[in-house]
Symmetry: C2
């Protein structure tokens, strides 16, 4: 069994992989490292980066039917990427009739913004 | 020719995969998406996240001989992870006698800190 003690269930339901401790956090546990790595893994594909980019610039949820032609990828590929991004908690999915609409989970993105922060890691040692 | 206007040459020489456009950047090119995904891929492993964490909290370059016992991974595994992180431009490697010492490329980390920023992407539409 994999350990997932870092997550509580209510978060797990929506955002299984989203945590995340800053890379510079003191006392990072193995579980923190695994959840942080899982988010990076979800984003480790150019198609997914482009999906995130398109949705970051959208004012409203975007239909999968509009994403697919924009990306120049096949519909199954786009659906696969979207599924992985939703599973990682980075996107939110909403069903409207026959189509699914996707939007960025901005709260999660803001939290991820702290990942690369180094302030405080060395007591103000930055130049 | 690939577009690499986001990089200046001096950085490019040392940091082949490090760019990076914010996910919310307008006009992200396919090449931008690829280089951004490459950085995420380099970090998409718990061992590498832990290496980054250890080095973020170090005041000086750390010997590979000290990293290996700290991580509880085999020496070849640690060396493989370190190589990938250096190739991505995230770490710097320095040979001192028989040992290699590693430190975080803080300039690159600071740049990566902008990846998840959403400000400006929608003209102040955040709540």
């Amino acid at each position: 069994m994999r350990e997932l003690t870092v997550l509580d269930r209510s978060v797990l339901d929506r955002t299984p992989a989203v945590c995340c401790s800053p890379l510079a956090a003191t006392g990072m546990s193995d579980e923190d490292a695994e959840t942080t790595a899982a988010v990076f893994k979800a984003l480790a594909d150019p198609g997914r980066v482009r999906i995130m980019n398109l949705l970051a610039n959208a004012d409203a949820p975007v239909c999968v039917c509009d994403l697919t032609p924009e990306l120049g990828l096949s519909q199954p590929t786009v659906s696969f990427h979207l599924k992985k991004l939703v599973q990682a908690g980075l996107l939110e999915r909403e069903q409207r009739g026959v189509w699914a609409f996707y939007s960025m989970n901005r709260e999660v993105l803001e939290r991820l913004g702290t990942i690369f922060e180094l302030e405080g890691a060395r007591g103000g040692g930055r130049t």
